[in-house]
């Protein structure tokens, strides 16, 4: 039962990875790609780590730390990339 759940999480994560990484090859704007990357890299990776967590529950403290840092770092990197890649309009900073 646990194994099925864990496999399910990992498959969802992998589907997110492929779906979200695929638009990188297209010709859309950086910000549009950033939206799909946040699906792939944050949510997809979190699903995969959840799958791993179900498989080895005795290592939960480190995997929980991995989950939290995944969420925080990826989101902040998304913000920093969005901030840095857009032109300043009207004001400096």
């Amino acid at each position: 039962m646990i194994n099925i759940l864990s496999d399910g999480c990992m498959i969802i994560g992998l589907v997110f990875w492929f779906w979200g990484t695929w638009p990188l090859l297209g010709q859309r704007s950086v910000l549009y790609k950033l939206h799909s990357l946040s699906v792939a890299d944050t949510l997809g990776s979190m699903a995969i780590v959840m799958g791993l967590l179900l498989r080895i529950p005795h290592e939960w403290p480190l995997l929980l730390l991995a989950l939290i840092s995944l969420a925080i770092w990826n989101t902040v990197l998304g913000y920093v990339l969005a901030y840095c890649s857009t032109r300043e309009i009207g004001h400096d900073g």
């Binding site: 990992m10 992998l14 990875w17 492929f18 990484t21 695929w22 990188l24 090859l25 950086v30 790609k33 950033l34 990357l37 792939a40 890299d41 990776s45 995969i48 780590v49 791993l52 498989r55 080895i56 290592e59 480190l62 995997l63 730390l65 991995a66 840092s69 995944l70 925080i72 770092w73 990826n74 902040v76 990197l77 920093v80 990339l81 840095c84 890649s85």
Partner: protein, 86 residues
Amino acid sequence: MTAVILAMIAALLIPMVEAFQDEDIWQRMLAFASIATKTSVMILAVSVLRDDWMIGVVGVLILSVGNAALMLLAHVIKRLNEVTEG
């Protein structure tokens, strides 16, 4: 588990191709950010596959130190662009 690792390697190829083919620096940064996350999650998956938690600790450490270098690089590139454009 092996199938999962193979699928992950396939997913890792996409941002690599993008990093090679696109000239725009921000598109490349996006690809690198994607590669960074994917490889560290792969390290975790490999540690479960080989049942060797020492590898897993390395993966968790990489994840928690995070993409700090990429953020710094993004700021440096932004500054450089501002300087060169006036």
